[in-house]
């Protein structure tokens, strides 16, 4: 009798525990090939090992900051793990919407025992930011539209050279990257760009340089725009994320070439929304330990041409992808790193000037 009771209670407890651990997590990402690489490299292997966990995707990273603010205000956090660019992670961290974490506790060390905080190094640009990849904003051009007798463009300043390379250009509808490129091509030394851009005259100077091509620019908002414009032959050259250009060239076999000069590196990674309930937080932490380890980050590079954020992952990147990585020495001869501090301070001001200039 006693035994039966104990057994029954035990079964009930086990059932209860089993029921409680079945977990549906909502991950937020960018959709498209990038989200697919995350699915293939981290999520599918994880779910295979943990059949009680299921993942629903929400392609809302583009408006993650606004949505997390609203969720916080409504006291109803429905996301469990959010993929954002580093600049957004910094903002969310400052506003207390993302959770601060301890890298050495949450993330797995490298296979050789190097703690995560060292393995990721400078990539951890904010106390809330769990880096995944290094991507870059680079320029692609139609190889079949290069004027006869000219070499294909090889310098970022060819973007501003309408004489040599006539045709439309696609540029992002925001000042970041465009202003830096404009100043650089107006003769400012690379190290001085942000000093110059911090002044009113410097901003005027950048806009003046952009003025020289303004009538030939098609402005884009989403990363998918430039590949479409290039495929249409609507533009001769245009900036976008290097992974998008990789897919246009390698998967869609469009006559497009890469111009890596002055590519601007940026980081993308996870943040954990602040205020998750205990059980969901546990599940997310367990996933993160697995999903950001050395092998998983290297695996992601099989599916998309973005560089893993861990130093220890670099040697594991498949050989055939290395040449497409923005971090490949051949591609990274002349680069710029997204300046988070500068843009955090000047974004609003320069944005306003840029928008006013656009409307002129």
């Amino acid at each position: 009798m006693q035994l039966t009771k104990t057994l029954l209670a035990g079964t009930a407890l086990a059932l209860l525990a089993g029921g409680a651990s079945a977990m549906d997590l909502t991950f937020v990402s960018w959709g498209g090939a990038y989200q697919n690489s995350q699915l293939k490299a981290y999520v599918e292997p994880y779910v295979k090992e943990h059949p009680d966990v299921s993942v629903t995707w929400d392609e809302s990273s583009a408006e993650a900051v606004a949505k997390l603010r609203a969720m916080n205000e409504a006291g109803n956090i429905t996301w469990d793990l959010v993929d954002v660019v580093a600049a957004d992670a910094i903002r969310l961290c400052d506003e207390g919407l993302a959770m601060e974490y301890d890298p050495d506790e949450l993330l797995a060390p490298a296979p050789d025992g190097t703690p995560a905080s060292e393995d990721f190094g400078d990539m951890i640009v904010s106390d809330c930011f769990i880096p995944q990849i290094v991507y870059s904003t680079a320029v692609g051009y139609r190889t079949d539209m290069v004027p006869e007798g000219e070499d294909p463009p090889s310098s970022i300043c060819d973007l501003f050279d309408l004489q040599k390379y006539p045709g439309k250009r696609a540029l992002e509808k925001r000042p970041i990257n465009n202003m830096e490129w404009a100043l650089y091509c107006d003769g400012v030394a690379k190290d001085d760009i942000y000093d110059v851009l911090a002044t009113d005259e410097g901003q005027e100077r950048a806009l003046k340089k952009l003025d020289t091509i303004k009538s030939d620019v098609v402005w884009w908002n989403a990363g998918a725009d430039t590949p479409q414009l290039l495929a249409d032959g609507e533009v001769f050259m245009g900036s976008t994320y290097n992974g998008r250009l990789y897919s246009v060239i390698e998967d869609q076999h469009q006559p497009v070439g890469m111009l890596w000069d002055m590519q601007v590196f940026d980081l993308d990674g996870w943040i954990i929304p602040a205020g998750l309930p205990e059980d969901r937080l546990k599940a997310v932490e367990d996933f993160l330990k697995f999903g950001t380890d050395t092998q998983r980050l290297a695996d992601q590079a099989k599916y998309i041409s973005y560089g893993p954020a861990r130093k220890s992952s670099a040697p594991l990147v498949p050989e055939n992808m290395k040449q497409h990585m923005p971090t490949d020495p051949e591609n990274a001869k002349n680069t710029l790193l997204y300046n988070y501090e500068f843009w955090a301070d000047y974004r609003d001001d320069i944005d306003a000037k840029f928008q006013a200039w656009l409307a002129k």
């Binding site: 549906d24 909502t26 937020v28 960018w30 959709g31 498209g32 090939a33 629903t56 995707w57 929400d58 392609e59 809302s60 583009a62 609203a70 969720m71 205000e73 409504a74 006291g75 109803n76 429905t78 989403a222 990363g223 998918a224 725009d225 590949p227 479409q228 495929a231 249409d232 998967d251 869609q252």
Partner: protein, 392 residues
């Protein structure tokens, strides 16, 4: 039925009008191949000369002249840009051959009363041209989507292979993608689960509200009506944000029923408006007559009132259904990733990866809409005929 006798006109008149059309089409061809103004001038000159010559030399042999136009344009088009040029040329040749002799023979006046001034005749045709242009303007974006959805490439582009009617340029792969991708199928399933339930709720509440509000003794009728209709007038984004915060507090945000209720609220105004409109023509003495014969109000409603206002209820239901099926703003707020509907999936797909799968879905949705509207219209006509409401 000729109202006016056709009088042959001068070759200059016919050629001048043809030149106008030439300039119009020249604008498009010129813009497509580099210079709009040049296209206008070239089109006008070319058409003037051709029409003038045709009318002067071949006024008697209209049939031969029309064939000449057809062959000339088709060959010119083919020389210019292969098969697509030939098809375009064929259409142009037919059009210009027809127009030139229609003008030259004066047949354009036959359907109009003889006392109209030239200005009135001009306006008569200009009006029709403008109306046609508006129709083309509205419908072209929908029509363009259809061939593009059979694109073999992963872009929203008419490839050269497509323009040359090369079978290799077309493929069903985007349709295959739609039917095999779990994202799209999940979204379709969510839409199919949400829209009908939202429609039933909207029709139920909307019809009852409309009947109640049509009773003359209800106090504050105008005010209640205004509040019920407000989801249609208030900008959607405001309703959506309001619902988001309200539903979050009561635990409905991110649930199936939350989305259904939100969509029902958006659909109710359509039902109220259409049902109220049919109720205007409803004779209330029928209700009294039914009551007189011993029917209780529920029986009266289902046996007498409902059949008579059914057309209004059905068109309201149709609007409510389409509102829910097409809605993207509210579901982005009120739903969570688990309630991703088709429009949501299309919205993110369009922003993050411009994939022609969206066009395939759009084509399927257009086909479904046409089918649905046709069916409902046929049913409505049939029921009207059965009840002897329309004379035919």
């Amino acid at each position: 039925m000729a109202v006016t006798i056709a009088k042959p006109t001068s070759a200059t008149f016919a050629a001048g009008c043809a030149a106008g059309f030439g300039a119009f089409f020249g604008l498009f061809i010129g813009t497509a191949s580099g210079s709009g103004p040049l296209g206008v001038i070239a089109g006008a000159v070319l058409m003037f000369v051709l029409s003038f010559l045709a009318v002067q030399t071949m006024r008697g042999q209209e049939k031969t002249a029309k064939w000449a136009f057809l062959v000339l344009f088709t060959v010119a088009g083919a020389l210019f840009s292969g098969i697509p040029g030939a098809v375009l040329g064929l259409l142009f040749g037919y059009f210009f051959g027809h127009v030139t002799f229609w003008l030259a023979s004066g047949r354009y006046r036959t359907a109009l009363p003889p006392y109209l001034t030239p200005g009135q005749v001009l306006w008569h045709y200009a009006f029709r041209t403008i109306v046609g242009a508006i129709l083309v303007f509205l419908i072209t974006p929908i029509l363009v989507v259809i061939p593009l959805s059979f694109n073999a490439e992963n872009f929203f582009t008419f490839t050269p292979a497509m323009l040359h009617f090369d079978p290799a340029g077309y493929s069903l792969k985007h349709y295959r993608d739609f039917f095999t991708s779990s994202d799209w199928q999940g979204a379709l399933w969510n839409s199919v689960r949400i829209a009908p339930v939202a429609t039933i709720l909207a029709v139920g509440f909307g019809t009852l509200a409309a009947i109640g509000l049509s009773q003359p003794h209800v106090p504050f009728r105008q005010w209640i009506m205004a509040i019920l209709i407000s989801p249609m007038i208030v900008p959607l984004i405001i309703s959506a944000a309001g619902m988001y915060f309200f539903y979050s507090r009561i635990g409905l945000q991110g649930t199936y029923w939350g989305v259904v209720l939100a969509h029902a609220a958006l659909g109710i105004p359509f039902v109220i408006i259409t049902v109220t409109a049919t109720l205007v023509g409803f004779d209330r003495s029928l209700v009294r007559a039914a009551a007189n014969m011993g029917a209780n109000p529920v029986t009266t409603f289902f046996k007498v009132q409902m059949p008579l206002i059914l057309p209004g209820v059905i068109s309201g239901a149709l609007f409510a259904f389409i509102t829910s099926f097409d809605e993207v703003v509210v579901v982005l707020f009120v739903g969570s990733a688990g309630q991703k509907t088709l429009p949501w999936q299309m919205f993110t797909g369009l922003r993050e990866q411009i994939s022609p799968t969206i066009l395939a879905v759009a084509t399927i949705l257009v086909a479904i809409s046409i089918l649905l509207l046709t069916t409902v219209e046929l049913l409505r006509r049939r029921s009207e005929k059965l009840r002897g409401m329309s004379p035919s």
